[in-house]
């Protein structure tokens, strides 16, 4: 096994769900979540889950993949923004050819396989983003 199981386990909530914190002092949203507001330093923060649709800001296509990602190649990685919260997330983009991408494309988060540690090791799952499909709210 080459992937760190404890590291994956510790980060699973952030990989599976878009958790952020809102500062009760300055009302700013912190993502990734932090127990201290990175804008005002207050520890008076509350956790919440970001839901809904995001917009594609920018992206790149990776052709030289790290080990464990071979089957996903080419890998599209993008910066997506949740306008309501001003939160930007770096994530994999899936179910789309890179030629179909454009700035402002509306995306939705979905759970996908992120990597596999060989045939016997851990499978890591994480949120990725795909173009919004008909019927999604």
């Amino acid at each position: 096994m080459k992937h760190s199981v404890p590291r994956y386990w510790r980060s699973r909530r952030n990989l599976y769900r878009l958790e952020a914190v809102k500062c009760r002092n300055c009302s700013r949203v912190n993502y990734p979540p932090s127990i201290t507001c990175r804008y005002c330093g207050s520890r008076n923060v509350e956790y919440f889950e970001i839901n809904g649709l995001a917009k594609l800001i920018t992206w790149t296509v990776i052709y030289s993949e790290p080990e464990g990602f071979e089957v996903f190649k080419p890998i599209i990685v993008g910066v997506v923004e949740f306008p309501e919260h001003g939160v930007r997330v770096l994530a994999r983009i899936t179910d789309v050819d890179s030629s179909e991408l454009r700035e402002g494309l509306v995306l939705e988060p979905i759970l996908r396989k992120m990597s596999e540690d060989g045939v016997a090791g851990i499978i890591r799952y994480s949120l990725a983003f795909r173009p919004k499909m008909s019927g999604s709210k």
């Binding site: 599976y16 899936t94 179910d95 996908r112 396989k113 499978i123 799952y125 008909s134």
Partner: protein, 357 residues
């Protein structure tokens, strides 16, 4: 038997959801690659099948179907007291898929969670278990998931139909239900029609044996048991959904039971998406929930090799209308399609793989 005392009557479907991956493989491609007679797809009633992408498996598909079901149920994940996933394509031989899905949906840690295996009807067994759990008060809501990236050996006749998809249901009290259970009945025997041994990559099946003594005998046994238990007759049902290993078996079993084909066709999806194994009949039923009117009665009869079948009588309620728009429909997923060739399918489903570096 007085079925009006059945525990089913207090239990219903609070939310439903499905997931079908976007990739489609024309079954003519399979006939071309493996040298089948050109009429083989037509004989099976098949056009194309849904193929999970390289980053999908039964966990990710089950997650999305369950997310759609939760959106329609409008219940807090914390109110889910059991997550039961039926699959015969678990990513891990040992490590539950149900706990991964439960964690991702925010249901953990105060919940039961387990994977069930009974070929294509494990999720239906979960449905019956959940009826008991909710009716007894053991849990308020249970999440039932049927999900499969169905395996078939390349070149086997099964490859024409084995596909990928998932459906999920939030089972709870009848008063928040889009549909309520009226009665259910199960019929199980030891019948070796289809199996996959531990460590084997693909299932084997006894070709001529899969029809009469397995599929037909068990579905007929379950449905007739339901009829005898309730006094209901074929004419009492507006829709009938059966397990869909191909497009001909469900229509033939309907004819054996005296059910008109027009009642079967709205939930018969196999020709467009393939046989999604544990999600097969359940996705057909999910589409019925997408289109049915309040007051209509549905016969649902999943089947699993090994072998067994469950028959359910389900009545649609007024709440189906307000819940319907809260998540994508089965038709939304069927319409979202990208045709791929056999080479891409082979890569996506790990029929070919690079050697370890």
């Amino acid at each position: 038997m007085n079925y009006l005392s059945s525990p089913e009557l207090s239990v219903g479907i609070a939310g439903w959801g499905s997931y079908i991956p976007m990739y489609r493989l024309s079954v003519c491609e399979i006939a071309r690659i493996w040298g089948f007679p050109p009429e083989t797809p037509k004989n099976l009633g098949m056009e194309e099948k849904a193929v999970a992408g390289p980053d999908e498996d039964s966990v990710t598909m089950g997650y999305e179907a369950a997310l759609n079901a939760l959106r329609r149920a409008e219940v807090s994940p914390r109110d889910i007291g059991a997550v039961w996933a039926g699959s015969e394509s678990k990513p891990y031989a040992v490590k539950p898929s149900a706990s991964i899905i439960a964690e991702a949906l925010g249901i953990t840690p105060n919940t039961m969670a387990a994977d069930l295996e009974f070929a294509c009807r494990a999720a239906s067994e979960a449905l019956r278990i959940s009826i008991g759990a909710v009716a007894s008060g053991l849990v308020k809501y249970a999440l039932v998931i049927g999900t499969d990236t169905a395996q078939a050996e390349p070149g086997d006749i099964l490859e024409f139909t084995a596909s990928s998809g998932a459906s999920a249901f939030v089972i709870g009290p009848a008063d928040n239900a889009a549909a309520v259970f009226e009665a259910s009945y199960t019929y199980v025997t030891d019948t070796p029609d289809f199996w996959r041994r531990d460590g084997a990559l693909y299932p084997l099946h006894t070709e001529a044996f899969t029809g009469e003594p397995a599929y037909f005998s068990h579905i007929v046994g379950a449905v007739k048991g339901l009829f005898e238990k309730t006094g209901l007759r074929p004419g009492d049902f507006d829709y009938a959904v059966f397990h869909q290993p191909n497009a001909t078996f469900p229509l033939r079993v309907a004819a054996k039971l005296g059910i008109e084909r027009e009642k079967v066709l709205p939930g018969l999806l196999v020709s467009k998406i393939g046989n999604t194994y544990n999600a097969s009949a359940l996705t057909g039923f999910s589409r019925i929930l997408d289109i049915a009117r309040p007051g209509q009665r549905v016969l649902l009869a999943p089947f699993g090799s090994g072998a067994g079948s469950d028959a359910y009588s389900i009545i649609i309620t007024d709440k189906v209308l307000e819940k319907r728009e809260k998540a994508p429909t089965v038709d939304d997923y069927i319409a979202r399609r990208k045709v791929i060739d056999y080479a891409s399918y082979a890569k996506y489903r790990s029929l070919i793989a690079r050697l370890p570096r």
